[in-house]
């Protein structure tokens, strides 16, 4: 009647929707509609530190996790054992001087577009890593890659590189389809422009292909139909979502996700019976750094103050805060690596000694700034929580700490520039070898960040030189232990925690094995 | 121009009392008003602003704010087509709904505010017609166009599609009158219908009112404070002061031989000829005179929502 005119658009709209539904046959948007009862989609919650899916530029845990599923490497590790390298797409023949590595492709490996993998692809992939100067290019520093024949590639180095086989297992060195890449702007020098392509497609022979990638929210993988490798993936579709620790817990409890990768020791408590937790020590070490440059701080560069700090910290309290799986880091080298320090050599709490050292240092109660990344969660451990705990502990000795949290993006600059008075950071290994930890010595990367130039501590430097020279495992072990004792004694670093890595998975998911390099081999997961 | 009122009463108001509920208790606004509007005549209701004139008109339609209570009797005479007289005080929402706009219509003071600025004139002329008389849109529009022509709005067909602001003030008031007449009411309540208009325009509107009464047998209750207007068109006049009737009677008698002091003083206050006067005496006059105590015209101090008695 009066308003009848106005009702028309609504009716038209409803009709339009109904028609469109009819036309489209009202299909389902579910990814596995019509499939059998078996669970086919796997949801993994992970706190992202993803920067790219391009193996030649990727070197963060999330990238390793993703690229492990997309690409195959020449050599690899089996399960969680990173101490022993096994053949991947190739077998290895290593010269006795550890300078020549001959890799022979085994069987046939097919890229997702159907082409077969050849030595050209291997050479291209490795040379690209070197040439584009991305994050992982240092892995192949000094390595020359040459093709011997269609099945064989030879890697040569000037100096003995015993670590190269385990380096080759890194997904950053995954083999890419050189034809596809070249067609999409790929090259083996700095002009390479294939990253964009690799962030939307994958060009590998791995068990999965990239369906979509959003660096901020989620990565979706689908099963590679052309995959002819050993393990047949159980899940046809894998969604890796960027979810922070606390929400991961809810999600895995609520059934929204099947796997949570970043739960703290605290959070894995009380997950309930439907969730299985795999706890392993991680190879990460959280440490406190005191700047040794008097220009940055008069007080933190004072050796007595450093001693006072080391003796003030209640390490056991920190461990209990961090929860299950976490232990005190005895030295900078993580416990599972060669040359790790024994627990008995770890730093110890000694309030009396702390007070004495503090008095000697001439500390007058001034504020000392502790900088830390406010948005970093490592194995579920919040840096702000640790920082606040440290602040409270140091306060007991009479050290007044001012907390200066900042997003990691802003803070990194100050950290790398050696401008932080005190810093709370962590070190994750680039490869599973103690030599990766020589960065903690004067004049080296982390030493410089702590205002500790070459020659600042000759004792430590001498020990470091000795450790770098190498030798038998026993020799290396004792050299690295000596170095760490010296570091604990006089260095500007205070190793605090070696967090546990907790993987919480629905009990329906089988085959959950933690790997220190790529966290989880998605293709190896099973379902029941 | 002589008029022969039919003698029938179109609207019979007896002992009307309206009280405003205030924090200090009920405050009388209209205090025992008696008034009869004869069929086919104009009954003028005069008085100062705040004397309760507008409130009385609203009371006829049952449109007083909820904070006001009404007692007494307002009887709407039987319709021309027959039927029983209707008591409006205390009657049901259904009865009032059938009376408003249909049997009794109202024209407000300012046509620039009483017509909705965002609705086309045609819509405002037809929506109640369609509601009351159940006409189709086309029928209602035809009727509206005829009405506009009747009130001398030129080019009625086009006018229906226009908006109020596209008309002059005088035409707007003619449109407002057309809106009121659309359902063919018996009684028209005209609340200061010319006060907002220029004097030349006012003359036209007054002529129209007279015409409608004479030609259509309309009964009008004309509320105004302007004695000139009253003298021009009213057949009967009632003078109100502070909510009560002071004097009532045929126009000529009231203007030429007022009985009540107040009526006399009102007439005397009309501007006469030029004069010189001592300011002190004038001031004294103002001190003694005061303005009448302010009675809220419609809404007392904004704390009471306009509320229909019947809306739920």
């Amino acid at each position: 009647m009066v308003h009848s005119r106005r009702k028309r658009p609504l009716a038209v709209g409803v009709a339009a929707i109904a028609l469109s539904m009819l036309a489209a046959g009202c299909s389902s948007g579910k990814s596995d509609s019509g499939a059998g009862a078996a669970p086919k989609t796997l949801v993994i919650d992970k706190a992202f530190d993803l920067k790219t899916a391009d193996p030649a530029r990727m070197f963060e845990p999330t990238g390793e996790l993703v690229d492990k599923a997309l690409y195959e490497t020449l050599l690899t590790f089996k399960g969680g054992d990173v101490s022993k390298v096994v053949p991947g797409v190739a077998t290895l023949d290593e010269s006795s001087d550890a300078k020549t590595f001959t890799l022979t492709l085994t069987g046939t490996h097919t890229f997702s577009d159907g082409t077969k993998m050849t030595a050209d692809d291997v050479v291209f992939s490795l040379q690209r890593v070197i040439g584009v100067k991305g994050n992982p290019s240092f892995l192949l520093d000094g390595v020359t890659v040459t093709k011997k024949d269609d099945k064989t590639v030879v890697l040569t180095t000037a100096t003995p590189t015993p670590a190269l086989p385990s380096i080759l297992a890194n997904p950053a060195l995954g083999i890419l389809n050189s034809k596809v890449l070249k067609a999409n702007g790929g090259s083996t020098d700095a002009k390479d422009g294939a990253e964009k392509y690799l962030n939307t497609h994958s060009a590998g022979s791995g068990p999965y292909v990239l369906e979509s990638l959003n660096l901020a929210s989620q990565v979706v993988l689908t099963k590679n139909a052309k995959y002819d490798g050993a393990a047949t993936p159980t899940y046809t579709r894998v969604v890796i979502r960027n979810v922070e620790g606390a929400t991961q817990k809810i999600n895995v409890q609520g059934g929204d996700a099947q796997i949570a990768l970043d739960l703290s020791g605290d959070q894995v408590n009380g997950l309930g019976s439907g969730v299985k937790v795999t706890s392993d020590p991680s190879a990460n070490v959280i440490f406190l750094m005191l700047n040794q440059s008097p220009a940055v701080s008069r007080i933190t560069s004072n050796p007595d103050f450093v001693k006072a700090v080391k003796a003030s910290i209640d390490y056991q309290d920190l461990v209990s805060m961090a929860g299950a799986g976490t232990s005190q880091a005895a030295g900078v080298v993580p416990s599972m690596f060669l040359g790790a320090l024994d627990k008995s050599d770890a730093l110890r709490t000694d309030p009396a000694a702390a007070k004495a050292a503090l008095a000697k240092s001439g500390y007058a109660g001034e504020k000392v700034t502790l900088s830390f990344p406010s948005d970093v969660t490592l194995n579920g451990i919040q840096f702000p929580t640790i920082a606040q705990r440290l602040q409270a502990q140091l306060k007991k000795t009479g050290i007044n700490v001012d907390l200066a949290p900042a997003p990691v993006a802003t803070e990194l600059d100050a950290y790398r520039g050696g401008k932080e008075t005190m810093g709370l950071w962590y070190w994750g290994p680039d490869y599973p070898d103690p030599s990766d930890y020589l960065v903690f010595t004067p004049g080296n990367v982390l030493g410089l960040r702590a205002g500790w130039p070459k020659g600042a501590d000759t004792t430590v430097s001498a020990l470091a030189t000795a450790a770098a020279a190498g030798g038998s495992d026993e020799e290396r072990t004792s050299q690295f232990q000596d170095l760490q004792r010296a570091l604990n004694n006089s260095g500007p670093f205070v190793p605090l925690l070696q967090p546990g890595n907790n993987i919480a998975a629905k009990s329906s998911v089988t085959g959950v094995v933690y790997n220190a390099v790529w966290t989880l081999d998605i293709a190896a997961l099973g379902g029941k | 121009m002589t008029r022969t009122p039919s003698g029938e009463v179109a609207l019979d108001i007896r002992d009307l009392r309206i009280d405003l509920a205030t924090a200090e208790g009920p405050r009388p606004i209209v205090n025992g008003l008696d008034l009869r509007v004869g069929r086919g005549s104009i009954h003028g209701l005069a008085g100062e602003s705040g004397s309760g004139k507008t409130i009385t008109a609203l009371a006829v339609l049952g449109l007083l704010p909820a904070s006001m209570s009404v007692s007494g009797s307002i009887v709407l005479g039987a319709a021309a087509a027959g039927g029983e007289p209707i008591e409006l005080v205390g009657s049901s929402a259904a009865v009032l709904g059938g009376v408003r706009g249909r049997r009794v219509a109202m024209v407000f003071q300012d046509p620039s505010t009483s017509l909705h600025p965002q609705l086309a004139v045609g819509r405002q002329l037809t929506d109640h017609v369609r509601h009351h008389l159940g006409l189709r849109e086309a029928e209602a529009r035809a009727r509206a166009a005829a009405l506009l022509t009747r009130v001398h709005v030129p080019d009625a067909e086009t006018a229906l599609g226009k908006y109020p602001h596209q008309f002059s003030g005088g035409q707007r008031q003619r449109i407002a009158i057309a809106v009121a007449l659309a359902c063919g009411p018996d009684v028209l309540l005209a609340d200061e219908p010319t006060t907002a208009l220029d004097v030349t325009v006012q003359a036209g509107v007054l002529q129209l009112l007279r015409e409608l009464v004479d030609d259509m047998g309309l009964s009008v209750l004309l509320v105004t404070h302007d004695l000139g207007v009253m003298s021009s068109v009213a057949d009967e006049v009632t003078v109100m002061r502070a909510g009560a009737v002071v004097e009532s009677g045929p126009r000529s008698q009231l203007f030429t031989a007022p009985r009540h002091e107040y009526t006399k003083s009102l007439l005397a206050a009309l501007p006469g000829s030029t004069f010189e006067e001592d300011p002190a005496e004038l001031a004294a006059e103002l001190v003694a005179g005061h303005e009448a105590p302010a009675v809220p015209t419609v809404l007392p101090d904004g704390n009471d929502a306009p509320q229909e008695r019947d809306d739920v």
């Binding site: - | 121009m1 100062e48 602003s49 003030g169 220029d198 004097v199 030349t200 325009v201 006012q202 003359a203 036209g204 007054l206 002529q207 007279r210 404070h225 302007d226 004695l227 000139g228 207007v229 009253m230 003298s231 021009s232 068109v233 009213a234 057949d235 126009r251 000529s252 008698q253 009231l254 203007f255 030429t256 009102l266 007439l267 206050a269 009309l270 501007p271 006469g272 000829s273 030029t274 004069f275 010189e276 006067e277 001592d278 300011p279 002190a280 004038l282 001031a283 004294a284 006059e285 103002l286 001190v287 005179g289 005061h290 303005e291 009448a292 302010a294």
Partner: protein
């Protein structure tokens, strides 16, 4: 249009009256910017002498208020001059008005907006007194002024909201008069008031102004009030003064068709039941014409 304007100017210019004008308005034009621009006042000239009350009448929108505001300097004048005792009245800006110029004051239509709601009325009248003193006039007391406009002298400490509209208007008048102006411009000062007080307030204004030997320009659309208080009357239509001169002369024998229509449309409260004459639409066209004889009309017995 321009031709009309020129002739209008010349003709009204000839109507300068006898007493040496306290206020001389010469050929004032007021335009409002907009699309298209609107000419509100189209070349108005007038002069008002001491102790003289001049009324300005016309329908709403004819430019009465614009002219009044242009005279005191609230509205910018496109052209033309306004002089108070021979001195140019400047347009109000951010700068304070010179003491001499406080000799022209204004009373507005809406009494509710004429007073600062947060100051006692006595203080506001005192402002007027201060302006008078600054100009070298005798000091006076606010309560005297309250008394003069018929209000309780004790009320000086009260605030505006405690007064009725008519009372507020009288306070505004008191403030304006306290400045002892030589010229008072009143823009529809009584139209917002109750009918019963309109006449008295108008009469009061007249007598106070005449008493102080000041001039007054009194704007109104109520012709019957104007007839009662104005010595001379100016009739305005569409921005132009179409008829001017002695009030009674115009009232008795209007010459301009607009003035005639205006007067004929006034309903007479005589109880006779006569309908006022309503002009036809077509008549309006005649109202814009210039009738030279209608300007500068003299009182009977007065004259050249």
């Amino acid at each position: 249009m321009s031709e009309h304007t020129i002739s209008g100017r010349r003709l009204s210019g000839s109507a300068v009256p006898r007493p040496a004008g306290v206020l001389t308005v010469d050929d004032v034009v007021v335009d409002y910017r907009g699309r298209p621009p609107l000419r509100a006042v189209d070349g108005a000239s007038l002069a008002i002498g001491a102790g003289e009350v001049v009324a300005l009448v016309g329908e709403s929108g004819c430019g009465k208020s614009s002219l009044a505001r242009a005279i005191v300097g609230i509205e910018r004048r496109t052209s033309g001059t306004v002089r108070l005792a021979g001195e140019e009245v400047p347009v109000l800006g951010l700068r304070r008005r010179a003491a001499a110029m406080t000799g022209i004051q204004m009373v507005f239509q809406d009494p509710n907006s004429s007073l600062n709601p947060r100051r006692p009325v006595g203080d506001q009248i005192q402002d007027g007194v201060r302006a008078a003193v600054a100009r070298g006039e005798e000091p006076s007391e606010p309560h005297e002024w309250l008394m003069r406009v018929g209000l309780d002298p004790q009320a000086v400490r009260r605030y505006p909201h405690e007064f009725s509209g008519g009372q507020k208007q009288r306070i505004a008048i008191a403030r304006a008069l306290a400045a002892r102006p030589r010229m008072l411009v009143a823009d529809e000062p009584i139209s917002a008031l109750d009918a019963s007080t309109q006449t008295s307030v108008a009469a009061l204004m007249r007598s106070l102004v005449v008493d102080a030997a000041a001039g007054m320009l009194f704007i109104s659309h109520d012709l019957s009030v104007v007839r009662r208080i104005a010595d001379r009357t100016l009739v305005m239509y569409r921005g132009r003064i179409v008829e001017s001169g002695h009030t009674e002369t115009i009232w008795r024998d209007p010459l301009h068709p607009y003035t005639r229509a205006l007067l004929a449309a006034i309903p007479v409260p005589d109880g006779a039941g006569r309908l006022p004459l309503a002009p036809q639409e077509a008549d309006r066209d005649a109202w814009t014409e210039v009738v030279p004889a209608a300007l500068g009309r003299m009182a009977p017995g007065e004259g050249a």
